[in-house]
């Protein structure tokens, strides 16, 4: 009896399963086509230099004040500096589609320069003040990055493997300038001081960018001071200015005329992105 029942149940189940299979077959969908939208995780390298990829950048941020104007140092420099750094990070993570992780550490106290401001601002301040970049970089290399320096802090200047290091200087003076990283085989930077501003620590080069504190706090730069700060940072990637010697733009992005727009309204052009290895 059980055997008969088993046969009956087996037959019915077989029929039902067959029916369901047939209906599923009838209502079958075409073979799935692989997604055409294969989204490749973005990655970047230094401008025009695919041999040097960049995945993470850490900024050691220092507020540098020439000795003679130490008394007039901005009391709220930390907030100003942190805000500018935070906006910089937000801008580049958005524009570079998260291809690079940018972090920063602000040195807790202003570093008072060993010289007066005219020493640092002794050069052509109309071209961004490369003299200040070189002088301040050299002094910080000695005092901040070298063991025994009066501001030496091993944890602050440590190099993290896999992370490119850079030095961001909020300068209590004039100018905005950065080390222009050159790709292999490229000609020398427009101003040799750009390259001299590199700080080397344990074989690791620390490019430097310097921005006057006035860009961030002065009313006249209110709309685009942080854009200038971010613009200088872009040079660390090797991106060059997109305006001519007269200041006339060849691009509307942050490297060109866009550097005078509020940071939230400017962008990194596709041309610049392509130099970094991005397609969009």
């Amino acid at each position: 009896m059980l055997k008969k029942r088993a046969i009956l149940i087996t037959a019915l189940v077989t029929i039902v399963v067959a029916a369901v299979a047939v209906f599923l077959y009838a209502a079958r969908r075409p073979a799935a086509v692989p997604s055409p939208h294969a989204i490749v995780p973005p990655s970047i390298h230094y401008a025009r230099d695919p041999s040097h990829p960049v995945t993470a950048i850490h900024l050691a941020a220092v507020y540098f004040v020439p000795k003679d104007i130490a008394a007039s140092a901005d009391a709220s420099w930390r907030d100003t500096f942190n805000h500018a750094l935070a906006e910089l990070v937000r801008f580049y993570e958005f524009e570079l589609h998260g291809a690079v992780a940018i972090t920063y550490t602000v040195y807790p106290t202003p570093i008072i320069g060993e010289a007066n401001h005219h020493v640092y601002d002794g050069g052509d301040t109309n071209r961004g003040n490369p003299n200040a970049l070189a002088a301040v970089s050299a002094e910080l290399g000695r005092r901040l990055f070298t063991p025994g320096g009066d501001h030496y802090d091993a944890s602050f200047v440590r190099s993290v493997p896999g992370t490119d290091e850079a030095l961001a200087i909020l300068y209590e003076g004039v100018g905005s300038i950065a080390t222009l990283r050159l790709a292999a085989g490229e000609q020398q930077a427009p101003n040799p001081l750009y390259q001299h501003s590199l700080i080397e620590l344990d074989g690791v080069e620390w490019p430097v960018f310097l921005v006057s504190r006035f860009f961030l706090t002065t009313e006249g730069y209110r709309d685009y001071g942080e854009t200038v700060f971010a613009h200088e940072f872009a040079h660390l990637f090797g991106l060059d200015d997109r305006f001519d010697a007269d200041g006339n733009p060849t691009s509307d992005d942050i490297m060109g005329s866009g550097r005078f727009l509020p940071l939230v309204n400017t962008y990194l052009s596709l041309e610049d992105k392509r130099e970094l290895g991005l397609t969009y």
């Binding site: 067959a18 029916a19 685009y224 007269d246 939230v264 052009s269």
Partner: protein, 637 residues
């Protein structure tokens, strides 16, 4: 022996019913689903295309409305450029007219920014620049519209537009360029819906999504997709091609369609998850499957019911057949289906009855055979007994005769005293001789005797002859003998010897048991077709208790035994056998101490005796025979 069933009829019926119910259903379901699926696939593609065309129209309207504001035609023959007041007024109105124009500049034909207005910043803090190296200037200066690539800012996508400013004569006198926030396009695509989760997005020339309902997708680049590249190059996707069914940006399988915006180098994509787009089909499919499964189950159940309806009577028939086959012929199959199965059950019941009768007949036959065998053995024993008695009697008679003769010779020569002794001895011999005679008679007229000798017998003569032979005895016992016979007494058919023996026994009994001086009367009359012989004595009579046994072998009534006379107890036994063997009847009435009357009725005319053996002990004749000697013709049966 139990028969092995490979597959029950019910199972077969159930399966066959299910298959028969399923076949057409499956075919219809397949056909319907194929048609509905194909039709719905077309509908989905059509709906996507319609939606895309609508949304592309909205995007184009937005762009045209914006660029239209940049296209300025001065109504009079203006000098080379617009003056300061006019320019500032123009830019102010431009930004007022379209709130998504975030910045605008009037540029002279050398590329110098003459006037600027912006929602984003205080333009007085920005130094005017020369934009002659920028592409929008070149385009607009040459008299064409310019649409820049989509640029991605933290405040949303934006694009640069530019158009020439012409005078009444159509001459380009300036360039008007500016930035337009494309955020409204996000609103445009956000409002596009297909079903529950269908969506639309816009991609720029690099394949980057810049307007999507899912804000998180903005900035996602699809430039590696050939499908997207074809789209932004101007090839529409209808949503009906195989390649249009793929994995969408949401990660689900979608049916996608694309509509290019050629003048902008953009593309608009509609993606509708297949699951949602075909939810109706899935619902139909589910319903069809449920209906089919339900139908199958119902059909199978009905098949099972029908099978059961057939199987129950078949089971009853099967059990009944086993019962009847096992010998239970009284078992009745109770099938009340009113169809052939009931008829079959009734036929099997009748078969059981017939088998029962057959069995009974067989049993009866066995019993009859056993009885016949027993009878045969009894007859054989009786024959052996009769033969023994006959042989023994005949063997005894010869020496008894010799002894009697010799005794007579010895008595003649003996003294008186010896003669007295010899007289007793002679009496003993006589009794022994009588016993032997009875035994001989029994051997001839024993059980089952049927007379086969049909000679005319004058019964009166026979009686008279017997009486005559007993006259000496009558005298010695001073008995009165009377015989009353009519003159026209018919003869009977029979054996003279047998009838004589019967009469002798009756007369001898009357003599023996009638005291001295008694009376013995005999009469013979005709009664119908019988001759009625009556013999009445005044003897000792027969005790009432013994009357039922007097015709048995060797039976002697108590009063007869007490007389101490010699008797074998075979006389009346022989009488009855002889009379019955002649088709007659014998009876008596008697009162102890008063006398006895015997009645013997013998048939006259045709006498038919069936079976039995004749007086000679030979086998009975094979067929009955008839003889008629009287005036009355009647066949005795």
């Amino acid at each position: 022996m139990a028969l092995r069933m490979h597959q029950s009829l019910g199972t077969r019926l159930t399966v066959v019913s299910a298959i028969l119910g399923l076949g057409p259903l499956v075919l219809m379901g397949m056909l319907a689903l194929q048609v509905v699926t194909a039709t719905h696939r077309q509908d989905v593609g059509t709906m996507e295309q319609q939606l895309l065309r609508q949304k592309v129209g909205e995007v184009n309207d937005f762009i045209e409305q914006a660029i239209g504001l940049f296209e300025i035609k001065i109504g009079y023959d203006y000098p080379s450029i617009i003056d300061k007041a006019g320019g500032e007024f123009l830019l102010t109105k431009l930004l007022e007219e379209n709130k998504f124009i975030t910045r605008a500049s009037l540029v002279d034909l050398t590329g110098e920014e003459v006037y600027r207005n912006s929602r984003l910043q205080d333009v007085t803090r920005v130094r005017p620049v020369n934009i002659r190296q920028l592409p929008q200037f070149e385009a607009a200066k040459s008299g064409t519209r310019y649409f820049g690539p989509v640029e991605y800012t933290l405040n949303g996508p934006t694009m640069t537009m530019a158009a020439p400013v012409v005078n009444r004569n159509g001459q380009v006198i300036m360039v008007l360029e500016g930035d337009v926030n494309l955020a409204p396009l996000a609103t445009t695509v956000e409002s596009a819906r297909l079903g529950n989760n269908g969506y639309v997005y816009l991609v720029d020339g690099a394949g980057t999504i810049f307007a999507s309902a899912d804000r998180g997708r903005i900035g996602t680049n699809l430039g590696t997709s050939a499908w997207v590249r074809e789209l932004v190059r101007g090839t529409p996707h209808t949503g009906l091609a195989a390649a249009d069914e793929h994995t969408g940006i949401s990660g689900t399988d979608v049916l996608a369609a694309g509509e290019p915006l050629q003048k902008l180098g953009w593309g608009m994509v509609a993606e509708w998850s297949r699951q949602d787009a075909f939810s109706v089909i899935a619902a139909i499919q589910q319903q069809v499957i449920l209906f089919s499964v339900g139908t199958i189950l119902v059909v199978a159940f009905l098949g099972w019911l029908v099978g059961r309806r057939i199987l129950i009577p078949l089971g009853l028939l099967s059990r009944g057949a086993q019962k009847i086959g096992g010998g239970d012929f009284d078992y009745k199959i109770q099938v009340r289906t009113g169809d052939e199965l009931q008829v079959l059950g009734e036929v099997m019941n009748r078969m059981g009855d017939d088998l029962k009768r057959l069995e009974e007949l067989k049993a009866a036959q066995v019993r009859a055979e056993a009885l016949a065998e027993s009878l045969r053995k009894e007859q054989e024993l009786s024959r052996i007994k009769d033969e023994f008695i006959s042989n023994t009697s005949h063997q005894l008679r010869t020496p008894l005769t010799i002894m009697n003769w010799n005794m007579e010779l010895i008595a003649d020569a003996a003294t008186k005293k010896q003669q007295v002794l010899l007289s007793d001895f002679q009496a003993g011999l006589a009794q022994l001789n009588a016993i032997v005679q009875d035994l001989i008679a029994v051997s001839e007229f024993g059980p089952g005797f049927a007379n086969t000798i049909l000679e005319p017998v004058d019964l009166a003569a026979v009686v008279a002859k017997v009486a005559a032979s007993r006259e000496k005895t009558f005298a010695e016992k001073q008995l009165v003998w009377k015989l009353d016979v009519p003159s026209d007494l018919p003869k009977v058919a029979g054996s003279v010897a047998g009838l004589a023996l019967a009469v002798e026994n009756l007369v001898d009994n009357a003599i023996t048991y009638t005291p001295v001086g008694g009376r013995i009367a005999a009469s013979i009359i005709r009664e119908g077709d019988q001759v009625h012989f009556t013999l009445t004595d005044t003897g000792i009579g027969i005790p009432a208790d013994d009357q039922k046994s007097i015709f048995l072998q060797f039976f002697r009534a108590k009063n007869a035994v007490s007389m101490k006379n010699v008797g074998t107890g075979l006389g009346l036994y022989l009488v009855r056998n002889i009379v019955h063997g002649h088709g007659g009847e014998v009876r008596f009435e008697s009162a102890e101490g008063k006398g006895t009357t015997f009645h013997v009725l013998l048939p006259i005319g045709r006498v038919r005796v069936a079976g039995g053996h004749n007086a000679s002990g030979s086998a009975p004749t094979a067929s009955p025979h008839e003889t008629y000697f009287g005036g009355v013709e009647k066949v005795a049966g």
